[in-house]
Symmetry: C2
């Protein structure tokens, strides 16, 4: 995974090697001990830097978590883009959007549980990276709606922003890691039935 | 609040006075110290019974929590019944169902936070009272759909159980206390936009 620092508050010299080293150590520590239990001192010890030196690069533990979270959200965003890119219709894009989001979240839960826990904290506390991700998904939904409306697949009477928001609210329990964990039992039904309901609501 | 023990595992003599005393003490303790921090010993001390005596009436702390939870869910269920009883149309019943559920949950969160926390544990761990409540709400949705279909308000092509399940999944993040806390910011938008989306999907 490459680091993406654009969303994290940073200070000090832009020394990418040091930043990368901190992020790599943090990934390992968070994945092993969990985000909440790891301290900046633990990370400093692990890579042989002083705590003060790490603070030259990151304001706080959350700033380190933010980079990891932002990287993972960028990966999920990429999965969504890939999933919907070659969909033949806007309707199919809606179906694939739900499936891609639910699968990416479930994979994280079942295979990288400690990283999932960071995502749950980030979702619960609405970290900037999560807010940006959510805004971005709203944009994806709106773009699909515009295409579907232009193609005559979707109705055009309802204001675009209302339809976008409603669909986003239906998707949100599967985007938000703090919520997804309570929906894992029904996720297979959800990725079929929720897009089906939405597509019925979009019928011209 | 009267106690409703039908959903809780119980044993020993059906001495309603003692049971009520335990429940009342538990309500106070849970509301003050929280469900997770209170022990059966704390309750025993508070009402001057031995722990063993309490275990004659309740299998576990959860069995006590279950009664409290079931009572509260019965109140919420009653609010839903009242809210939809005099709705002039099935469409209006859908709108009121969403509003009643979201308001009951938000009220609990903002005004009885410690009881909300019991509800969140109960939702997270899918206590029997929660499962019964969820099944019951599915029944409410199905009944509204049947009425709306018979009145010609709703389409009849989609299998009834699919429509019921999809609507329940849209409602669930506002029913489930473990999830609702992450949706409080958008609850006012949700109770307008989600029923609107559903009603568009139900158009004949």
């Amino acid at each position: 995974m490459t680091t993406n620092t654009s969303l994290a508050p940073t200070r000090g010299p832009a020394d990418h090697d040091v930043r990368d080293q901190v992020i790599q150590a943090a990934m390992l520590h968070f994945a092993h001990y969990g985000y909440e239990k790891t301290t900046v001192s633990d990370l400093a010890k692990a890579i042989g830097f002083s705590k003060a030196y790490i603070y030259k690069f990151f304001d706080s533990k959350q700033a380190i978590g933010e980079v990891i979270c932002a990287n993972r959200l960028a990966m999920i965003r990429q999965l969504v883009t890939t999933a919907i890119a070659d969909a033949p219709t806007a309707s199919e894009q809606i179906r694939r959007l739900f499936r891609a989001i639910a699968e990416a979240g479930s994979d994280l839960f079942f295979h990288e549980r400690k990283l999932y826990d960071i995502a749950a904290v980030a979702s619960r506390d609405q970290w900037p990276s999560v807010q940006a991700h959510e805004a971005d998904l709203r944009q994806v939904i709106q773009q699909v709606l515009i295409e579907g409306r232009e193609a005559g697949e979707f109705e055009r009477k309802t204001p675009l922003d209302e339809t976008t928001e409603a669909i986003y609210l239906v998707l949100k329990p599967y985007v938000n890691a703090a919520q997804l964990q309570y929906n894992l039992d029904s996720v297979e039904t959800a990725v079929v039935q929720l897009p089906a309901l939405i597509l019925r609501s979009l019928a011209p």
